[in-house]
Symmetry: C4
Subunit: 213 residues, 4 copies
């Protein structure tokens, strides 16, 4: 509520805390709804049924980690905002629209891995959804930088840092989508790898390992 400042052009915009509350809500609900797709089915012993449901666990894992990683990027941007503006709010709604859509292609991939049919279609739609989240995220980031919605940082490290993080992810998704057109299974492995990359703080891990020894 401290963000009541007028924008330079006299457009009063929404407090960034409301933007954060709504966005955090959509991210956390989309991530939690993923569990509704998990199910076990006959035939087989109980243990076999649980093990045969592995595509569901894989889809849950990759999508949850991807939403979590996207939330980290999104929250680290919006947490730094000193104000928002109408374009930012609406671009943000588009990102949330795609994030909230993710449980659907996740279910498609899970079903395709189960039945062995339609893997190429499912994996491609899944990849395009992940790509859209991060392309829109890049646009949101770039917009905030151009319109000076975030306070400038003396070292310029932060903008570079976000770009350095987002560009390889976008490239990774493009490669994975193209791979998936030929070998759908390999694309799923790539999406898993990118999700792990989004979540695991490699530099921090290296730092911790060296400090310990």
């Amino acid at each position: 509520m401290q963000d009541d400042a007028e924008t330079p052009r006299g457009h009063r915009s929404l407090g960034t805390d409301r933007l954060a509350a709504f966005s955090d809500g959509v991210f956390s609900i989309a991530a939690t709804l993923l569990v509704l797709d998990l199910a076990v089915h006959p035939p087989g012993t109980p243990l076999e049924q649980v093990l045969h449901a592995w595509p569901g666990y894989l889809g849950y894992l990759v999508s949850f980690l991807t939403i979590g990683g996207a939330w980290l990027l999104h929250a680290s941007l919006t947490d730094r905002l000193t104000r928002s503006d109408p374009n930012f709010l609406r671009l943000n709604l588009l990102i949330l629209l795609v994030v909230a859509f993710l449980p659907f292609p996740t279910g498609l991939v899970t079903d395709a891995l189960h039945t062995g049919e339609g893997q190429r279609v499912a994996v491609t739609i899944y990849g395009l959804t992940l790509l859209a989240i991060h392309v829109l995220g890049s646009a949101l980031n770039e917009y905030a930088r151009r319109e000076h919605l975030c306070p400038p940082r003396g070292d310029g490290q932060d903008e570079q840092g976000t770009h350095r993080r987002l560009l390889p992810i976008v490239i990774g998704y493009v490669i994975a989508i193209l791979t998936g057109l030929v070998v759908p299974g390999a694309a799923v492995a790539l999406y898993f790898g990118i999700a792990v990359y989004l979540i695991v703080p490699f530099r921090e891990v290296v730092r911790l390992l060296f400090r310990r020894s």
Copy 2:
């Protein structure tokens, strides 16, 4: 929690942050639950099945954007409140009741577009729900203005601005509902158009385009 002020008549009312938290919760959950209605069904190749599910994507898109647009209007009102009162809180609950109901008529429209049956009924119920959200939103806005729940603005721009935005939306929904009684498909197109109008900041786009050139 800074909103503990007594109302003029000695009725202590709820902090506006709690009102915001509950409302943002319902808006974000209703928007995210829309994905649960998406599904693909045989017959056809995997790609055909995904493409034949287009009514679901359309319903998701229109309803998500409408909820997002309604949230923008709702948040911009409630974010400016300096206090709330019992009537405001209860009128707000009615809006949330209709917003949370939207996934149901969305599903009706999706099913009707799929099967080709009952389109007129589904589209009319959908339109009445959208209309109810915005009529109740207008009432909430008007109530806040009359009871001075928002700080007055010197230029009076804001109240006019909200009215200027809400009136054409309400008129648009009435036209769309009447259209839908004759040509249901055209009404869906109108609902999509209104949702885009709610979301796209046309004046901002024009401003940006001119500034760039």
Copy 3:
């Protein structure tokens, strides 16, 4: 985060803002999940199918308004808290457990009204759930008063006001449950009436009517 105060006995307790965030989350999700129970079924024309689904709309309406009314009472209590303590937090979890359970008996009542079977059982379970929410709410309110978790009010109006509101509700639910054992349909009407009573600010309405004239 301003609520870090130690309790008198040295037990540091959770900030009341976290308690509020978690509670508002459960209330808003439980209310929004109610829509998932709505569905139309053959036979009949599309309009007949929609109209025949009236028990679902009634259940949605009563349960949403009841959760909304319970949230109003809960939020007005927790918003006044200056601190919480372990008992308060745990008693609060029990209330949330019952609130989050409400979609299940709502579905039972809806199904029973549809099929005409098992109405007495469904309506009784529904009533007991509503009663439990408000009895636990009374206990929470009483506990906060005894342990001085809220700042005292000079006029003592507030405690009396809450009691004055909660006691007739509890009595109303007991009467409705007993009625439902004989005439289940009448109990549903009573639950609807109590929900309206929870939401409509009668004194405010009277005040507004008189001021206008």
Copy 4:
């Protein structure tokens, strides 16, 4: 938003309020989604059907209380944080991933108790999930302590207190999992007992009882 402090190594990290909002969201949604697994099925009279659904109520009760108890521990840790760092945020995402997964094994246990088949598998997966939540919670707690993300407490009571609470829980889950390999039903009783232990403030109850007398 007051948590903008730079970490010692120049990594700016996310405000702890965003971390809290996202985490509270996942905890409250996971707890509320549990109700979607409840259902009654023929054969039998309406009352018999409701009574035969007891495994569902038991699963709902144990999982809701466990999530509630885990939320209490999680919130009491994160509420004390003065800052977070990338590792903390990511470790936290892993906990949320397991918490949001809980409705699935809850459904497995419910189904297994209904049908009498696959109880050992279901109960073991359920126990491993509960164990994972608390082991990861211990790791998060330990990490926060080592990296000094919380302000030090003069008496050192708090860290000891958390360890004193978490260690018996972890031991309890290990015992319950091993028990479940032999007598699945006994493990469910143990999970219920641990959930009650997580929620009921025994020391407070004793204190209250003695003060009253």
